[in-house]
Amino acid sequence: MSEAAHSSRRQPLWLTMLGLLTLVFMCLPVMIVVPMSFSSAQSLEFPPPGLSLRWYTAFFGNEVWAQAGVNSLLLATLASTIALILGTLAAYGLVRGVFPGKAVIEANFMAPMIVPSIITAVALFIVFAKLRILGTFFGLVLGHTILVIPYVVLIMQVAIRAFDVRIEHVAATLGASRMLILCKIVLPNLLPSAAAAWIFAFVISFDEVVVTLFLAGTNMTIPKRMFNELIMQINPTITAVATLLIGFNILALFLILALSRRGTHLRKGIV
């Protein structure tokens, strides 16, 4: 390390303290919730008086939580799969197509990410009530799909843009149709990105609360049940649920990073 570079890295003590404190503040929720979930105590004592898995047993032994878990998994799987199919096709059309109004259409696909989800929730609530699909699982899948679409389109657009178009030209010259090119040449090469986009969409759907609260009716999901329990009382089982969610999300993050190392271009699309 050169002298100059070193001197530029000397930082005042107050800045180091402020930086560290802010970082701790950001990590505090995780640092507290995870150890608390292994507590043997009924009340919220920190540090926990003893270790136990009783809150995990309580979670896995509870039928309502189990049903909520099944619903959440099914919902996230359906929404992210539909979004991946529609979103990948659309991303291909946006990157390689030639037609007027492309920017407007692209903005339209991004809009559900920008419009506050409470507005989407109200709009879908009113329309689904009229269509009599409010409170159905089908309606919930539709709502989640539209919420995760922007992320899929975004990631797949970056991936397709980075794919050498000349390879497609060669295939076209040899007489392949566009659909054949997409399915046989582009997609096999973009599988890591597609997997990452799917996981991304899955996590967002799995954690979603607001639209779910409006559309779910009696259908229970993990975040919805967690939200309802929180409003009512403090139940240590929630710390176990929260810890499982933290572990699940961090696992997904690592998967996406691993996939993006294989699909070289993906990274800047995410971080």
């Binding site: 800045l15 929720p29 696909f109 506050p116 109200v122 409003i231």
Partner: protein, 288 residues
């Protein structure tokens, strides 16, 4: 490289049609129209029609203004969003600056931690504050066992509690793009300033800060937009006592069944959000 980006838009087919490739996005466009665009238009339409007769009317907007309580909640939402945005910037900028000047390995770890918090669901991060600061939470148990207080103190269920939770959730949205912008600053500019005899303070305020100001502005607008639409954090940490606009919309739909008033609030929130989003895009172009 140039060949790729030039050709990226154009397909080699000699007989180019004007709607080349449109078929690929037609399914999603249809889906988005049905599940997003039309519902939003219906909300706008509802806000401008009479709830009983269905005829066009500004009656709901008039009732909105007359009541005053809606405007009060929107005003409060603006105030809290502004406070949260300023506080997030005040602690987020130094954090990003500090991280950007650490050595490579520490930078990697710090940004990894920030990214991790970004990935933990908002619900979980909000819930943790109940565990820590709630009436039966960790801090109150300590205070009581140490005999400092006899009854639990109310740290939450007020605006301060909501603000702490929101700042915690929103910090990564500011820190991550800001860190990226700071890494883009050419270190040679700082060296030149140093060689010319500028003090560290002068280098920061006259060279470094102006170069990152647009990115700071863009991130602050983003944080502000996000805070306007917050629902979960005020619902949980506000204990029903600190309703923001999103919580009021929830009550209007799910409790009072006043859909047309919820529609009016949606339209107002939508217009404000889109206006600030336009500002965000302009600042982001400046920052890049």
């Amino acid at each position: 490289m140039a060949a790729v980006s030039d050709a990226g838009e154009v397909y080699p087919s000699r007989h180019q049609r004007r709607w080349e490739g449109f078929g690929f996005l037609a399914p999603l466009l249809f889906f988005a129209l049905i599940v997003f665009d039309v519902p939003l238009l219906i909300v706008v339409f509802w806000s401008f029609s009479d709830p009983d007769t269905g005829f066009p009317s500004l009656g709901t907007y008039a009732a909105f203004i007359e009541s005053g309580s809606y405007a009060r909640i929107i005003w409060r939402t603006f105030l809290i969003a502004s406070e949260v945005t300023i506080a997030t910037a005040l602690i987020g900028y130094p954090l990003a600056y500090w991280i950007s000047r650490l050595e490579q390995r520490s930078q990697f770890i710090a940004i990894g931690l920030v990214t991790m918090t970004f990935w933990v669901s908002i619900l979980v991060r909000t819930y943790a504050w109940i565990v820590m600061l709630g009436n039966g939470g960790i801090l109150n148990r300590w205070l009581q066992s140490l005999g400092i207080v006899s009854r639990p103190m109310e740290f939450l269920y007020n605006e301060g509690g909501v603000a702490v939770g929101m700042i915690n959730v929103l910090l990564p949205f500011l820190v991550l793009p800001l860190y990226a912008a700071m890494r883009r600053v050419d270190p040679r500019l700082l060296h030149v300033a140093e060689t010319l005899g500028a003090s560290q303070l002068q280098i920061f305020w006259r060279v470094f800060f102006p170069l990152t100001a647009a990115a700071l502005g863009a991130s602050m607008v983003l944080v502000f937009i996000l805070s306007l639409g917050f629902y979960i954090t005020p619902a949980i940490l506000g204990g029903g006592r600190v309703p923001l606009i999103a919580n009021m919309m929830d009550l209007l739909i799910n409790k009072f069944a006043r859909w047309e008033m919820a529609a009016v609030n949606s339209v107002i929130l939508l217009v404000v959000t889109l206006a600030f989003y336009g500002l965000y895009q302009r600042l982001r172009e400046k920052a890049a």
